[in-house]
Amino acid sequence: MKLPAKAPEPNSENTPFFDGARQGRLVLPRCGDCGFVIWFPRQICPECSSQDVSWFEASGKGSIYSCTVTRRIPGGWGKVTPFVLAYVELEEGPRVMTNIVDCDPEHVSIGDRVEAVFEEATNRDGESGPPLLRFRVREG
């Protein structure tokens, strides 16, 4: 079932990330001075404060660092339980909080290899916005 998250609202700092998301590509910022791959998307490096940030297409692959299955929650999310909340460690380094989708929640484990998927989302007025980054378990 579709997760009830609201569509994100891009700003001038993260436009390349959401432009990529609309094309189904995971586009991340990297620091031109120290090489740090930055999450969440923004125009300044949290490691060295450099503003020399460029954008590149990441592999979209990673593995589950930790996960938890939520079974009780109020509101719209209560209609889609059980669902998996996870920290995914990307091949490029960052650890991303996300949901694992298209899965049997009982069989998602720490260490599972995952890949990025982008899911359509609607905003408060019911209009579709930029898609949301999620992950699904991948074979091999």
């Binding site: 997760l3 998250a5 609201k6 994100p8 609202e9 891009p10 993260n14 990330f17 959401f18 999450w39 969440f40 998307p41 949290p46 930790s66 996960c67 938890t68 299955v69 939520t70 079974r71 009780r72 929650i73 109020p74 999310w77 669902f83 909340l85 920290y87 460690e89 380094g93 960052p94 650890r95 991303v96 909080m97 996300t98 949901n99 720490i110 930029p130 949301l132 980054l133």
Partner: protein
């Protein structure tokens, strides 16, 4: 530039605490009146004797009027504070400093929260980092991440980890059963706890603290004045607070087996109180067991157990009521309940009873040690605020 602490400069001379629970017939106003008047009676003072008030509440009101209106306070200073789930402790800390500074002679710290009748049960969801998505992180979900991390680090299989968490819930229910003011006053069998419906990750409903209404209050004076009010004051030995950079969720070096903020606040409190071995020097501790894995991890963060051994100590009963270092003898957040703004003061209330020998006989701790510790946490693993106090029944 340094933190100096105010060891033995101020003392608690009276306390009050309402029963915690589902008070469908009471609002925050009623509970504030009950807790304040119990504290006045306990201290042998009248409301007019109080020079200033500190009110802690997260969501049951804003401004000093939240207190001055129900208590009909005559034009005295009332500060209203909020510091997430450590709100009650923050009210206490600031009230103590006001007395230590010499600004006031007699002050009250009071906390309250009305969580029932709010339209849903429990707190609103925690906010994930602003990465442009809404990832639906509940409080039980975020604290559940401690369990696999701790198990992995210390080589515990899932079954053993569940047994450890169950043991902690079982112990706190057992203590709560001896506490007439607790929200849940029943022992619960380990099989029932372990078999309860899951909420998030390995956490079942019995691994979560009670959502409740309640209020607690303390009257504080300078230490040298304390004996004018009581033969058994409780002296403040240490007050520490740590608010972290909140980078855990984005920091690959953070592994969810510890609270860095707790370690910082514990170290500071022990320095202020002159404690070098908390395990052997403290008579009892009240800690922030919002979820069972939190209490487990806290035992190591607070220095009550060696690194990697808290799970064994918990299984062996070291933190039981009759154990080496009783933890949450009043039932803790788990059984006493967690009305946010009141919880920090509720922890001090148990120290007040225990260290003065006034707990109900069935849960009175027999000890020749004179120190009690409270630990109060707000936020989540990787992004929290942490408070530690040490109080004692003797000077020095």
């Amino acid at each position: 530039m340094a933190s100096h602490g105010i060891k033995d400069q101020v003392a608690i001379i009276g306390m009050g605490c309402t029963p915690f629970g589902e008070h469908w017939d009471k609002g925050a106003d009623d509970m504030l009146i009950d807790a304040a008047h119990e504290a006045y009676a306990s201290a042998g003072v009248k409301q007019d004797d109080i020079d200033a008030f500190w009110l802690g509440t997260m969501g049951s009101g804003v401004s000093g009027l939240t207190l001055s209106k129900p208590l009909q306070i005559d034009y005295k200073p009332v500060s209203r504070l909020e510091n997430m789930c450590a709100t009650g402790s923050e009210a206490f800390r600031n009230a103590c400093y006001a007395v230590a500074s010499g600004a006031y002679d007699v002050v009250m710290a009071i906390g309250v929260e009305k969580l029932k009748d709010s339209g849903y049960s429990g707190l609103t969801g925690s906010k994930p980092p602003s990465d442009g998505t809404d990832s639906s992180l509940t409080a039980p979900a975020t604290f559940s991440l401690l369990a696999p991390a701790y198990a992995h680090k210390n080589g515990l299989d899932d079954e053993t980890m569940k047994e450890v968490l169950t043991r902690i819930a079982w112990k706190n229910h057992k203590n709560g059963a001896l506490n007439p003011r607790a929200q849940f006053r029943k022992e619960v069998a380990k099989e029932t706890i372990a078999g309860s419906p899951l909420v998030a990750g390995p956490l079942g409903i019995f691994d979560c603290s009670g959502v409740s209404d309640g209020s607690a209050a303390a009257v504080i004076v300078r230490a040298e004045d304390a004996h004018r009010y009581t033969d058994k004051p409780l002296y403040v030995k240490a007050l520490s607070f740590s608010s972290g950079p909140a980078t855990g969720a984005l920091d690959p070096s953070y592994d969810y087996t510890t609270f860095r903020e707790v370690r910082a606040s514990a170290e500071e409190a022990y320095k202020q109180a002159g404690i070098d071995d908390p395990r052997s020097q403290i008579a009892m501790a009240e800690v922030h067991d919002c979820f069972t894995p939190t209490e487990l991890v806290l035992m190591e963060d607070l220095g009550f157990a060696e690194e990697g051994t808290a799970w064994k100590e918990a299984l062996n009963g070291a933190f039981d009521l009759d154990g080496d270092l009783p933890v949450n003898p009043d039932g803790g957040l788990k059984s006493f309940g967690h009305p946010i703004g009141a919880s920090g003061l509720r922890m001090l209330f148990e120290c007040w009873l225990q260290l003065r020998g006034e707990a109900p006989p069935e849960r009175q701790i027999e000890s020749d040690k004179t120190l009690g510790l409270t630990h109060n946490l707000g936020g989540q693993p990787g992004a929290c605020v942490s408070f530690v106090s040490v109080v004692g029944s003797e000077l020095g």
